[in-house]
């Protein structure tokens, strides 16, 4: 299917979200849409899916103008969407989820499960989308759930598929599989719109790239364009993709973890006998695919979960009996991976969020009363220092973009003297510009002599920032990798296969390697 958007303009009040956007997606083309958060990609796709009406411009499908009153019309016209957050019913089986909304029936009202199942199997074979048709969605991994979403769209006879940040939740291996699926679909004649902020991926998979900035198309590019070129197109200024840093000057051991194990409520071992130490002035990275125990480790480090066995000490002080509040007071900064759930209160103002763990300490509080003037003054200073936009301290934090929300959390955690900074997925969902900023601040904190524990699933980030790194797999350290090791080797460790060469230190030796 050929899709053409002509001079699409959409205004919300005084804000022009889309400014005369032209976009042509040829049949059987993978067209990547690249742009920072808030650039107008979402508005454009909502227009395409019939959720918004454009103020000007028109949509053409196979050169015929169309007009969508709602998502139903868009679906009927052959447009399928795979959202970043999956829209599946977890307790239903794959088949049930796929047939939801257009259930085949027999007789008056009986579901024809057999026919539905046959259709699921047929489509999944045709496009190489292997899914277990009778499995309950809740039991499936994220990658397979995504395939179910794609299958759902294809079962509506979608001839144009829009994928929104599809790799954000996938492991490198799952991403590979997804790329294969997308190529198969393209070869079968389906047009693909691929929304992403990961430059490397976009360059690998796209046939053509359209870059959007501030609601307008700033240009189209070939996949042969360099990542740097694309990044500067996206941001509107030259961007450094590599992190500038001098070699680490490690000091005293700040964090010492010995034999840390965590067992979940259901008896599953989440973290298995972890031993490592981190010195002041170095960045220690824990790489790994989401869900291999890294989250639990960070939570244990700040006392949100208590270790089943093992000990953790910060600057020689055992954390065992301490509460989270007391641990933070020792000089531990914590940037949680899910900032909207754990790092911020969306309904609170920026100023309130900036004192979320300092509100009861001087100078913000005196004998049980908040000093609102001091809180406000501090917020104004932080907003300026960290360039939080829009620069309004009274605005609800939940209305800011992801990058600015992350800046609030960082500004708060870095605003007091730290011995140890624990930072998880620092750039998840951030655009290139914010990413650069966050990385610079992390390195700056290291250079002040703070020990930094970085947990990330992004290989590039780990490679760029880490002074030392380990890979976690199924709750264990699969190996320690020296800085500068090739990405492929780390990728293999993340997938659980230990490579044969010496790049990886066997788990037993990590402790000694860690102390150096």
């Amino acid at each position: 299917m050929k899709l053409e958007l002509r001079t699409i303009t959409k205004r919300f009040g005084s804000v022009t979200a889309n400014d005369r956007i032209d976009l042509v997606v040829e049949p059987g083309e993978i067209h990547a849409l690249l742009g920072e958060n808030g650039a107008g990609k979402s508005t454009l796709m909502n227009i395409l899916y019939g959720l918004h009406r454009p103020d000007e411009g028109q949509i053409l499908i196979d050169d015929a103008p169309v007009s969508f009153g709602g998502p139903g019309d868009a679906k009927a016209a052959g447009i399928g969407m795979v959202h970043q957050h999956f829209m599946l019913v977890p307790v239903f089986t794959v088949t049930e989820n796929v047939m939801l909304g257009h259930e085949p029936t027999k007789g008056l009202a009986f579901l024809d499960r057999r026919r539905a199942r046959r259709r699921v199997t047929e489509i999944s074979h045709r496009f190489g989308l292997e899914v277990p048709p009778d499995a309950v969605v809740a039991d499936l991994s994220v990658g397979v759930r995504q395939r179910v979403e794609i299958l759902k769209a294809l079962s509506h006879d979608a001839r144009l598929l829009v994928l929104d940040e599809p790799t954000a939740v996938l492991s490198p291996q799952e991403t590979e599989q997804l790329i294969n699926v997308i190529r198969t679909l393209r070869d079968a004649g389906t047009s693909i719109v691929f929304i992403s902020h990961k430059l490397r991926e976009v360059c690998r998979i796209a046939d053509r790239i359209t870059v959007i900035r501030r609601g307008a198309v700033v240009g189209t590019a070939d996949p042969s364009a360099s990542e740097g070129e694309l990044a500067s197109m996206m941001v509107g200024r030259p961007v450094r993709l590599t992190v500038d840093k001098v070699p680490a000057e490690p000091g005293e051991v700040v964090l010492d973890v010995r034999g840390l194990s965590l067992v979940g409520d259901d008896g599953v071992v989440l973290v298995d006998d972890l031993t490592f130490s981190v010195r002041g002035g170095e960045i220690f990275a824990i790489a790994g695919v989401q869900g291999n125990g890294q989250t639990e480790v960070t939570e244990a480090l700040v006392g949100l979960v208590k270790p089943t066995t093992g000990s953790i000490s910060v600057a020689g002080r055992d954390l065992g009996p301490l509460s989270t509040g007391e641990i933070l007071d020792l000089g531990v900064g914590y940037v949680p991976e899910d900032r909207l759930r754990d790092g911020l209160v969306g309904d609170f103002s920026v100023a309130e969020n900036l004192v979320l763990d300092l509100y009861d300490k001087p100078p913000f509080a005196r004998s049980g009363a908040l000093d609102l003037a001091r809180i406000e003054a501090d917020a104004t200073a932080r907003v300026r220092e960290f360039d939080i936009r829009p620069p309004e301290t009274t605005r609800a934090a939940g209305t800011l973009s992801g990058g600015n929300q992350q800046k609030i959390v960082l500004a708060r955690e870095l605003s007091r003297p730290l011995k140890l900074l624990i930072i998880a997925q620092p750039t998840r969902g951030l655009d290139v510009g914010s990413m650069e900023f966050v990385h610079r601040r992390i390195v700056a904190e290291r250079d002040r002599g703070t020990a930094v524990v970085l947990v990330s699933t992004e290989l590039d980030e780990v490679l760029g920032l880490a002074d030392r790194m380990v890979v976690m797999y199924r709750g264990r350290i699969a190996g320690e990798v020296p800085a500068g090791a090739p990405a492929e080797r780390i990728g293999l460790l993340m997938a659980g296969s230990a490579p044969d060469d010496q790049a990886a230190v066997p788990p037993g030796d990590v402790a000694s390697a860690g102390v150096r």
Partner: protein, 402 residues
């Protein structure tokens, strides 16, 4: 996750979203309009006129208008000012309004404060009964000097309510037992404890075979503040002071900050080093204590003796007041005054015009219903959305990384 989407959290969300003053006024207007329709339908002459509507439509409108006008006029006369009164009686409607408002303000503060910490305290009924039992007992069992007697009774009342609320908070913190369930159950416990006590010698009024307690001694009573002819008592002063205290607690104190954080996002509160469990217990102690003050106001000020219906529906009206007042201290005062006025005017309206008392209950219910459904008010008055697109679209757009 369950903590974030519990009923308390959802109600809180709904309250925070709407632009309060405009939406509340419009909701009130709509509720009065609904009430007017009911008055017209309940009015016998108007109904008769409807029978011959086609031959003389004017009659229906004249009579209907008359019924509504006289009904709402009587409501106003009963609640605010009656031109027919003279002398101190001029203040009688206002005194009645404020007398009714006193327990509603305190109850609204109790529910609202718990809301802010993300807890839905349905147990004001039980807590005020426990407060009334304790305050009443101290009030009639000990013969204490003036002032001391009153203070002791008040303290006992606050303690009784606080303990009853605190138990629910502790259960939530310790075992995860949902406060909606536990407070409802504790309402029954308090209710039946009261009816048991009202039959126990020493508690029951001597020489009476009715379910009524002994009378609170003079020294433990809340003094009447507008002279002996008007029933308004110092409970109102306590209610206003409590409202100021709640306002300070929630918006100016460190404790209030942590309670609000816990209410808005318990995960973030925990991550920021706050003790969520302790917060739950603390806010339920505070909420229960405020509910205990409702009991004090009733047994030390309004009635002077305990009966089986000391609650008189106040426990649940408190929830309505808190909703209308959007869980804020000032809102609780205004909503308490409004419902207090409805309560005072209601009596006069029924007596003077024959409009059924239920109309006022319906109006109260409809106000809250409209407040709970801001989208409805927005569409009636064609107001713009407060932010973003329609709720459904906004939800959808989230999937698009924006």
């Amino acid at each position: 996750m369950s903590g974030r989407t519990g009923p308390g959290r959802r109600v809180l969300d709904a309250l925070v979203r709407a632009d309060s003053v405009v939406m509340t006024s419009l909701s009130l207007l709509c509720a009065l309009a609904v009430g007017a329709v009911l008055i017209v339908l309940a009015d016998q002459p108007t109904r008769t006129a409807m029978g011959y509507f086609l031959s003389s439509p004017g009659d229906t409108f004249t009579l209907g208008w008359h019924a509504v006008w006289s009904g709402y006029a009587a409501l106003f006369e009963g609640a605010v000012f009656n031109p027919g009164n003279s002398g101190m009686a001029v203040f009688e409607p206002l005194s009645n309004t404020l007398l009714n408002a006193t327990p509603l303000i305190l109850g609204g503060l109790a529910v609202g404060t718990a809301f802010r910490a993300g807890l839905f305290n349905i147990g004001v009924q039980g807590q005020l009964i426990m407060g009334a039992i304790c305050a009443g007992y101290v009030g009639f069992a000990f013969r204490l000097p003036p002032v001391v007697g009153l203070l002791a009774a008040l303290l006992a009342g606050v303690a009784g309510g606080a303990v009853w609320g605190g138990i629910a908070g502790w259960l939530r913190a310790r075992t995860g037992a949902h406060e909606v369930i536990s407070t409802i159950m504790m309402n029954y416990l308090a209710l039946y404890l009261l009816s048991y006590l009202l039959g126990v010698p020493g508690f029951q009024a001597p020489g009476s075979n009715q379910a009524i307690s002994r009378e609170v001694s003079d020294t433990a009573r809340l003094p009447q503040i507008l002279g002996p002819d008007l029933r308004l008592h110092a409970g109102l002063v306590i209610a206003i002071l409590a409202a100021v205290a709640c306002w300070w607690l929630l918006s100016r104190s460190t404790l209030g900050f942590s309670l609000r954080t816990i209410g808005a996002n318990p995960s973030a509160a925990r991550t920021a080093g706050m003790n969520v469990e302790r917060g739950y217990v603390t806010v339920m102690l505070i909420s229960g204590g405020l509910a205990g003050l409702v009991g004090c106001s009733q047994v030390l000020g309004t009635n002077h003796a305990l009966t089986g219906d000391i609650d008189a529906g106040l426990g649940f009206q408190a929830i309505t007041v808190a909703l209308l007042g959007r869980a804020s201290a000032g809102g609780a005062v205004l909503a308490g005054l409004l419902f207090g006025a409805f309560g005072a005017g209601d009596v006069v309206m029924v007596a003077n015009t024959g409009v059924p008392a239920d109309v006022v209950s319906v109006i109260e219910a409809v106000v809250v219903l409209f407040i709970a459904a801001p989208a409805l008010i927005r569409s009636i008055f064609r107001l713009p959305e407060s932010r973003g697109g329609a709720a459904g679209v906004g939800q959808f757009a989230k999937g698009w990384n924006g």
